[in-house]
């Protein structure tokens, strides 16, 4: 039989013993050990003194009624996230219709956009780089009405 004084109890065991969180066999073993081991008994007393000091710490108070402060900030009554299957799958019908319409609308608009841009002549698409700035402002009346026909190459 081994001498119970040979091996000291660990801090882990003493701490759990102090908190009464050890299973019965381990608790009995530690009880027997500290009865005969002054070092472990001292360590256990230190843990107990530390707990007693914690109990002496001042109780801090918020100093006002928090409930009335946050009452106005609560975003409506909390609602359960749990699904209540009163309508079964029929309950999903409005959302399904909405999703289908959205997708169809997206495809239709996308189709019009792509087909529209493909049909435009290259010159039209690049018109923003013309010498006449966007907005159709003329550089001058003369250039509009006198020289423009010549620039087009039309022979009068």
């Amino acid at each position: 039989m081994t001498d119970p004084h040979e091996v000291h109890a660990t801090d882990i065991d003493l701490s759990a013993y102090h908190d009464a969180e050890l299973p019965a066999p381990a608790r009995l073993r530690i009880t027997a050990h500290i009865a005969a081991c002054p070092l472990c008994a001292k360590r256990l007393a230190d843990f107990a003194a530390l707990s007693a000091d914690f109990a002496q710490l001042p109780k801090d108070s918020l100093g006002f009624d928090l409930a009335s402060v946050i009452a106005g900030q609560l975003p409506g009554p909390a609602r359960s996230h749990r699904w209540t299957p009163t309508l079964g799958w029929l309950g999903l019908l409005p959302a399904g219709i909405g999703a289908t319409v959205s997708i169809a609308l997206g495809i239709a608009i996308g189709g019009v956009l792509f087909s529209g841009s493909a049909a435009l002549p290259r010159e039209t698409a690049m018109s923003v780089f013309d010498s006449i700035p966007p907005g159709g402002l003329c550089l001058g009346l003369d250039s509009c009405y006198a020289e423009y026909p010549n620039k087009t190459g039309v022979i009068k």
Partner: protein
């Protein structure tokens, strides 16, 4: 019926009502737990203003999350889980969080040399002040477990739930926290480690 059981029963009834949207029931929960939560957050964060803000935020989060609360869990355990997570977020934001390895030497927590005069060592007030200092210099993971155990009287099962660790880790971390707190305390009190 002891006090803890009485509070649990009252919590349960009010939390169920609050979950159904009863604001008055929720106000009752806030009034019952606001000082406890504030005290815990104050010791976790160290500043009164931040602790006040976070107490308020935690209750607002609790209200929003109430539909997810299940009566199988003690209401205070769930509430402190919210407060603890909020505190850790803030500490991470302040970049003051200190992660330590599980087998770190507790003596590394001593951050400065401070020896009070002998006559002050024996006054209760000074002792409490030293304890507060010893707590403040603990790594966050040790500080929170010690506060929840010593001030909130949480069981090992509850600590495991709040901290997201198993009970074996609760046991070892708590023992390490106590050992470190004693080491720090003795250091600040000018005692030798063997006293």
């Amino acid at each position: 019926m002891d006090d803890k059981t009485g509070i649990d029963d009252a919590d349960m009834a009010q939390a169920l009502s609050a979950r159904a949207g009863d604001l008055r029931a929720f106000a009752g929960l806030v009034r019952r737990h606001q000082d406890r939560m504030f005290g815990f957050l104050l010791r976790m964060l160290g500043t009164r203003d931040e602790a006040m803000d976070l107490t308020q935020d935690s209750f607002l989060k609790a209200w929003k999350a109430l539909p997810d609360w299940r009566p199988e869990a003690r209401f205070t355990t769930w509430l402190f889980q919210i407060a603890r997570n909020a505190a850790l977020d803030l500490l991470r934001h302040r970049q003051r969080i200190e992660f330590v390895s599980l087998d770190a030497d507790p003596s590394h927590d001593i951050v400065e040399d401070y020896t009070p005069s002998p006559e002050k060592q024996f006054s209760d007030r000074q002792r409490i002040s030293l304890l507060q200092r010893a707590i403040d210099t603990l790594p966050v993971d040790q500080r929170e477990i010690l506060l929840l155990r010593e001030l909130e009287d949480m069981s090992y099962a509850e600590l495991a739930l709040i901290l997201g660790i198993n009970e074996g880790t609760v046991k070892s971390r708590l023992a390490r926290a106590r050992a470190a707190a004693l080491t720090n305390f003795r250091h600040y009190a000018g005692e030798s480690p063997d006293d």
